[in-house]
Amino acid sequence: MKNECVIKETLDAVVMQEAQIERLVERCRAAQHGAAQCNKPGHKQPSGIEESTQNTGLKDRAVKGIGRTMVSAAACILLLIAGAVTVYAVVSHSLLDRYKGSEEDIVYVSQLITGDDQTISMNGLQFAIEDYVFEESVGEGYFVLSITREDGTKPVIKDSRKLRDACPISCLWAVYVDELPYMILFEEMGNEEKIRSLCETTGMEKEDAWQSFHNISLSAGRMDADSNCYYVSFWTEEVEDDFAIYILQTDSFSVEMLEEKRDAGDGLFMTESVSEAVTFTYGQLGGTLNPFALELSWEGELPVPTYLQKPGEAPIEKITIVKKDGTEIALIEDFMPIKENLKWSSGGHSKDYRTGEEHAEDTYQLINLLNIHEVDYLLVNGEKVMVE
């Protein structure tokens, strides 16, 4: 397919009707006139909340008006959230009881592999990035992964298959190692700070630095619960809101990368997995997706909802998981309401670009959260919301 040609020809048909353009001209003319009038010194607003701000400009008045509305809305939301959290905690608790999986069968590892640390260990196995080969001719590269037992012997590896190319810098593999299923997600993380540093120190163009620097994130895990095996992972691209969840149904080795489908009206994203019984819902917080607003629910023997903050609720400032062994995991600290889009605020970080390390940390924390049978209770904004 000649991409450029076909897309161009197709989009040529997307044009405004003449009447639409005329209407737009009229609307702009009216708005332009209104703005000019409003900005005249001493202009008095006809009525409403703006009367007391008659000497300020259009934008100031709008902001003050919206601000007041927001304050009222926020007050209502604060009242509502207390009730919502209580109800949700009760529901969560009842769903918790349905999980019957064996604790020792559940192992998760998610770790960042950098140039200094090419190996991760889990379940008596070592997964190591041996090499990254970049094929100039096709402009894409591939990773060479080795899997060994910790005693140095080679495990039985079979049925290894590439499940999906997410993009040139990300791919997903499934493999049986010593008869147990694993899923491995490779990501070549463009660590923005390191690339910037490389550019500064070598004078290299960013494009070249990107190609030459590989910071690799690898997630591997398995989860056996009764006879069903699922693995759940997620990744975000280095910036903002790309969010995906992978599910591996290990008996059939089928996999699905779940992607967003907007659900009209409430701002939630709904999606269904390979198994119709599994539904993911994840929400939007203050203008960006947040993995901690993730709810997982299974109909059957598999786990379990995590804490969900629904869009429209007041921001969560802090979530702490208190595990049964007494350890605490702070999930969200110093949560800053999003002022601009494209800012991440999670795991104690708030910045334009998340580094690969932060990404891995968030992944690890979420996966810990999914091991909900280890959880004693959650503290949300300091309040205990889930008690076993």
Partner: protein
Amino acid sequence: MNPKENLERIIRAYSNDLYRILYVYCKNKSDCEDIMQGAFLKLYETNTEFESDTHVKNWLIKVAVRDALNLQKSRWRNYVELDENIAFTDEYHLEVFEALLKLKPKERMILLLYYYEGYSVKEIGVMLKMAEGTVKSKLHRSRGRLKTVLKESDWSEE
């Protein structure tokens, strides 16, 4: 050039360009018109010194794209379905368009900016506040997804 004195001409000249980008992203006529009105009003109010009509067009596209992203991210936003049909003269392009609309919003926008408007990966990155690598990967992924969708619908190249 001074946009304040030429606003009506500018609206007529660039409405289709803005509309195309916004429609493919928002899939909703009313949202497109609201965003466009906002962009033209911002143009009227800006003190930016414009060197040429192309400069104005690029400025408008950037503002409109940013506003569209913000609108979509708004937590108060209600999402509405596609509200009109585009008049295609043949099935061939209709199927491509329908396949295009099945992509994720940002992927659709990137494809359009790259293939239709001819922006470079770098320019799209600046416009959407994305790293170039992210734009590249999204381009790659959306091309692949477009092909898959078209294959599923038995679309054949002419």
